[in-house]
Symmetry: C2
Subunit: 186 residues, 2 copies
């Protein structure tokens, strides 16, 4: 039946960006700024959709793992930036439950779609910080799916703090630039 | 930073079960029965949680790819049975959008959690068939997450047919047996 294991190859440029992050990210703005930068670089490099994300250790304020949308390059619709960042962080730390190890935040360039939202409680992160809003993604044609009306409240109920609108304008501008340049909307 | 690509290794026994499925699956009961059998085998083999899923080609009624829950063995919280089956089907067919190729169904041993539900519209499947209900999973302690009250209706709105309660009692019995045997609930 051909291909059997699931392999999602991470672009070389993403590893280089990760390796270059020697400093710390003490503010939520700095953390979301990296996610937004990753979104922009993913467009520039042509490796996927205009979305970036990263998992940070909130005790050391360091980067654990970065992710970008790799749906088209990996031939895999689940390869959203958030899923890539979460899976890489977990596999690096060798645990499927980040809450068992420490306290981690997922920073994203845009509020998560229904799938990535559903992935949060399973992942064990204790915080989510987002740049652009759902409506900024919808404005360029991405369907975020059927999210509960008070999705942030649903995460809070499960112990995950949600911070929104961090650098929203900068994050939304990346989305608009992608669409204006004729980027694939799916 | 260590591990970089995402690799989810599929157990040898799952490939053997796939390879043995030479026949066709003309009925939805036959398709969900395979998903339920995979859930049971995943328990017996100790490779993950009590969930199975499979993608079928509805034109030929053949199996495209099977999946089981590999969260613990892959150290990856997104490795739910449905995600494994979808990702493997897409990578086999070399497309992130199954709707572009043909007409595919995802059959699952249990109704999808919030994450897997959110993954459906992105995947391009046109049908979802489920065995056990959310409440059967909740009854043994799994939190299905914040799903919209009418989640089936939300999928139907996006062009995905939903069929529930296929072999529900058999599927729920697998969940209960897992819990009774002291299986890990997360």
């Amino acid at each position: 039946m051909g291909q059997s294991n699931i392999i999602i190859a991470v672009p070389r440029w993403l590893r280089a960006v990760e390796a270059a992050q020697a400093g710390t990210f003490p503010s939520v703005e700095a953390r979301v700024a990296l996610a937004v930068e990753l979104a922009q670089r993913n467009i520039d490099q042509g490796t996927g959709g205009p979305f970036g994300a990263a998992v940070f250790d909130l005790t050391t304020h360091t980067l654990v793992a970065a992710g970008v949308n790799l749906v088209t390059s990996a031939a895999c619709s689940i390869a959203h930036a958030e899923m890539i960042a979460l899976a890489r962080a977990q596999q690096r730390l060798k645990t499927w439950d980040l809450s068992a190890v420490d306290r981690f935040e997922l920073a994203t360039s845009c509020a998560p779609c229904a799938m990535c939202l559903g992935a949060m409680p399973w992942s064990g992160v204790c915080a989510l910080a987002c740049g652009a809003r759902d409506e900024d993604a919808r404005a360029i044609g991405f369907d975020e799916g059927a999210k509960p009306a008070d999705w942030a409240g649903e995460l809070e109920k499960r112990g995950i703090t949600v911070t929104q609108d961090i650098l929203r304008e900068r994050a939304a501008a990346v989305l608009r630039a992608y669409a204006a340049a004729g980027g694939k909307i799916y």
